[in-house]
Assembly symmetry: C2
Homo-oligomer: 208 residues x 2
């Protein structure tokens, strides 16, 4: 099964362009979370997480340069979809923004790490090392858990919001695949991505 | 003169707290510039500059920890003033935001680098090394120059905007001094800061 799935991995340059565009999007989301944070303590943790997303983005950009292509050109095909994705996942307030980043980066980081197994081995191991760096998860869980404990009704609203994000996020994942994701080999991977998502929601006490 | 001026340097912890708060503010401004950039090329350069500001912020935070204090507590006294400063310097559009960051970070980076000469020597040399890293200047000049060449009337509007920022920025600088800046030793330094500011505006073809 795994071999079938990694056969669906895109060409290295398309992979790197899309992965770099997505990390830039996570950086932008985390930056907005820093700017709109209610206190300096939250800013501290979130700015460190924004720094990690930026580092991942620039490491992927460096891999594109190493492949001899212009990074901006290679991210361009994903710009419109990324903008649309941001609009859908930004949410109505700071809490929804935080959960939006947590849910979408959780699913897409898992997905791109798996997909990286289909890259040429040297590149694949470098990319996996880049994507493996622990990012925003810790601080997002910390801030969200404390808000859910403090704000009446927030848990229900966030559970609904988290559920609404999964479909669009999986569409982004599918768009990265050679076949556009219309392949039986994809289903077991998506089932695992959703199981991981459910675990992340459970950890926040939210029904997935 | 220089000796007199550095005598006005605040206690190390107050210096580090304010300098860290200001770098966080530059990071937030640059992040907003990334998020609202008109194209991916601009995003690339600005996101790298945002990364530099964030690195400076975190290096100053690390120095606060080394002094045995809680960084968030030490930045807190500067939070309200920094928020107000942001409101004043953000501008009405992307170009004003870019020039706002260029003018205010130009003046304040110069100022804090000079002030760092009044810190205990080990700390002072580490802090100067942190602040010396080339930051946003290059990309801001590149983006602003090309916009000024392309957009009719922009040069006049930006010249006016740049002038309006100097007073508030110097107030932030003065607030860092032991005496609140009411000292003859300060004047020659401020004259130099304004001369550097004029050079930066000249380089953009803007009347200071």
């Amino acid at each position: 099964m795994r071999v079938d799935f990694t056969d669906l991995a895109p060409e290295p340059i398309a992979f790197l362009g899309q992965a770099a565009a997505i990390q830039l999007e996570f950086f932008e989301g985390l930056s907005r979370a820093v700017t709109t944070a209610p206190d300096l303590g939250a800013k501290e943790g979130l700015s460190a997480a924004a720094g990690v997303a930026l580092r991942k983005h620039h490491a992927l950009i460096a891999e594109l340069r190493r492949e001899g292509v212009e990074p901006v050109t290679m991210m361009q095909p994903f710009a419109a979809a990324t903008d649309r994705f941001r609009e859908i996942t930004s949410g109505d307030d700071w809490y929804e923004l935080l959960l939006g980043i947590h849910v979408t980066s959780g699913i897409l980081d898992d997905f791109f790490a798996r997909l990286a197994e289909g890259l040429p081995s040297d590149l694949g191991s470098r990319v996996r090392k880049v994507l493996d760096e622990a990012g925003a998860g810790g601080v997002l869980v910390r801030e969200l858990s404390s808000a859910i404990a403090d704000v009446p009704g927030l848990a229900d609203r966030l559970a609904l919001w988290g559920r609404s994000l999964v479909g669009d996020t999986l569409l982004v994942a599918k768009s990265a695949l050679r076949t556009g994701g219309d392949d039986q080999a994809v289903e077991p991977v998506f089932t695992e991505l959703i199981a991981e998502h459910t675990r992340r929601m459970d950890a926040l006490g939210l029904t997935a």
